[in-house]
């Protein structure tokens, strides 16, 4: 369980995390989604006590991270950009970490096997591919068999087989009752991996919801209707709380009504329908529409003075 309470972090003039509150619950995979620069990595560093919050607090299993007696057995972390000395072998990197927390040496061999690095464990980390580095990071995160996992972009640099592997691994860890918190900017990946989503933009919370609900909210349950009588249909819809947008000469997208209600309405009015298709936005589209404001505001910021002059 991770609980962030009104968490803020300022670096000089930049407010990287802005009054962020959320709870990451055990037994499921919680995706941490946001465009680049949204404050995901900063939030994860705050969880791990690597950076101190400017305001607010974040606890893991009810404690501040630095008050954990055996941090590696409580929280396993995979940090963005390999946080590993390149001159050391994978095995000795893991052994040194294990020793600091008093984790038995046999566990090092276990996690190496678990992530499939047996063949290269004695090689220097500097010679590793990005994917191997990610596997080593996952091995380090699992070292203390922690109750909570915090993973920053774990599928980064993995090949499709590796991505399937990490997805399966995280799902099974969640099924064991662990708290799994995974950041990503790959929305499609999140839809396959996560149960719950925490979406941020410009350091602020945009959504805290299930994956299904997130997509539903963002797409607004649109229905694509193809008919030769577009004008008649528009007329028929006037008394209903629905928005209609034209796709082409004989097709419209209707939001705010179910396909069933539209079909029944068309039948009552004798309107011929050629197609009646519920359109579910992909997670990607949902994400784009929800974070658009955050992203646009960010890029527009520099132009603001010029715009003011123009207006």
């Amino acid at each position: 369980m991770i609980e962030a309470h009104r968490l803020s972090k300022r670096y000089g003039p930049t407010l990287a995390v802005d009054d962020l509150s959320f709870v990451v619950r055990p037994g499921m995979v919680t995706g941490f989604l946001g465009p680049n620069g949204a404050g995901k990595s900063t939030t994860m560093r705050l969880i791990l006590g690597l950076d101190a919050p400017t305001a607010g607090s974040v606890t893991v299993n009810g404690k501040l991270y630095r008050d954990l007696r055996a941090p590696l057995a409580e929280v396993g972390a995979l940090l963005e950009a390999r946080a590993i000395h390149t001159g050391r072998s994978a095995y000795l990197h893991l052994r040194a970490l294990a020793e600091s927390n008093g984790i038995p040496r046999m566990r090092v061999d276990e996690v190496i096997r678990l992530v499939g690095l047996e063949g290269v464990a004695r090689r220097r980390v500097g010679t590793f591919s990005l994917g191997m580095g990610q596997r080593l990071g996952v091995a380090a995160a699992l070292l203390g068999d922690p109750k909570t996992l915090v993973l920053d972009e774990p599928s980064n640099g993995l090949d499709p087989e590796g991505i399937r592997w990490i997805r399966h691994l995280l799902r099974s860890l969640a099924a064991e009752g662990k708290t799994v918190f995974v950041s990503s900017h790959l929305m499609s990946e999140m839809s396959l991996m996560a149960d719950h989503l925490i979406v941020v933009g410009r350091g602020r919370l945009i959504a805290d919801t299930t994956v299904r609900e997130f997509v539903r909210q963002a797409s607004g349950d649109a229905v694509l209707v193809r008919t030769p009588d577009v004008l008649l249909l528009r007329e028929a819809l006037q008394n209903h709380d629905a928005t209609v947008s034209e796709e082409d000469d004989d097709a419209v997208t209707i939001r705010g009504m179910s396909s069933r209600a539209i079909g029944e309405l068309a039948s009552e009015r004798g309107i011929v329908l050629h197609e009646l298709t519920p359109v579910r936005a992909s997670l990607e589209e949902a994400f784009m529409s929800l974070t658009r404001d955050a992203v646009e505001y960010q890029t527009a910021e520099r132009d603001e003075p010029a715009e003011e002059v123009a207006v």
């Binding site: 057995a73 940090l79 001159g87 566990r107 276990e110 380090a140 068999d145």
Partner: protein, 277 residues
């Protein structure tokens, strides 16, 4: 692979003692980290070879040229300065490695893994200091003894040798190792302050080698009054058989150097707990 079964297979509490961070465990971890890097092994090898070998080599060269040396040079010949002269090179290797012990973690991002495992951070600084000081003291003491005891028979050719039991000689031989141990810790502390390899090495070199150069171009009376208190001059007073008029005596000089080192270490400890990693 069934990941669920595999992760459950090992509950890491099976090792007897309960898991958790202790100072002793962090020391064990830092010991593993120190020896698992090629750069460490090379730097330590270089420092041992130069500390043990340079004095012996110079002793042999000096004896071979003894007959060509001026009476003045012969009169000021110091068996201690020559046989223990290896510290001039060894201290640089030791100081630079001291910087790298900590900045290597910052430059690679390893420091985040380290502090995530030991969130109180200070045990890491203490462990690095203890391990590195222990290793340098052991290696440099051995190298210093080798340099001394191998050089003396060579110097006997022209009867300019000294003996370990002569006044102050043992203090100089052990003092070379003591000086380099403190210099290594100074490098480590500066590395922890600057958190950057190039900056750390530059700071160490500046403090140790550039300051004496600046006092040399000051008016003599200023230079003479400042010079004894500079880190290098104060620290190496423990390797000099006799203090000259413009140096501190052995132990006060060395303790002053230790004071600088501990000051830098204390400051780095303070900042380590306050700064973001």
């Amino acid at each position: 692979m069934n990941a669920a079964a595999t992760t459950q297979a090992a509950t890491p509490t099976t090792g007897g003692a309960r898991i958790g961070v202790t100072q002793a465990r962090v020391i064990r971890s830092e010991w593993t980290k120190l020896w698992s890097l090629r750069s460490t092994r090379w730097a330590l090898l270089l420092s041992v070879v130069s500390m043990a070998g340079l004095g012996i080599l110079i002793s042999a060269v000096q004896m071979a040229h003894w007959n060509q040396m001026s009476p003045g040079d012969r009169a000021t010949f110091s068996a201690i300065d020559v046989s223990l002269g290896g510290w001039h090179i060894a201290e640089l290797a030791i100081g630079v490695l001291g910087v790298l012990v900590i900045t290597g973690e910052y430059s690679t991002g390893q420091i985040r893994s380290t502090f995530a495992a030991v969130p109180h951070r200070l045990p890491v600084l203490w462990a690095k200091t203890i391990v590195y000081a222990g290793v340098t003291m052991t290696l440099m003491l051995a190298a210093s003894l080798v340099a001394f005891f191998v050089s003396q028979p060579i110097l006997r050719q022209h009867h300019v040798q000294t003996s370990f039991s002569a006044p102050h000689v043992a203090r100089c031989v052990v003092g070379a190792a003591l000086f380099m141990t403190a210099a290594g810790v100074l490098g480590l502390a500066l590395g922890a302050l600057v958190r950057n390899t190039a900056g750390g090495i530059a700071t160490f070199a500046g403090v140790m080698f550039v300051l004496p150069g600046i006092t040399a171009i000051l008016p003599n009376s200023w230079g003479d009054s400042i010079s004894p208190y500079l880190p290098l001059n104060a620290g190496t007073s423990i390797i000099a058989l006799h203090a000259d008029p413009h140096t501190l005596t052995a132990w006060p000089g060395y303790l002053l150097f230790c004071g600088y080192t501990l000051g830098a270490l204390a400051l780095s400890a303070l900042l380590l707990t306050r700064r973001d990693a």
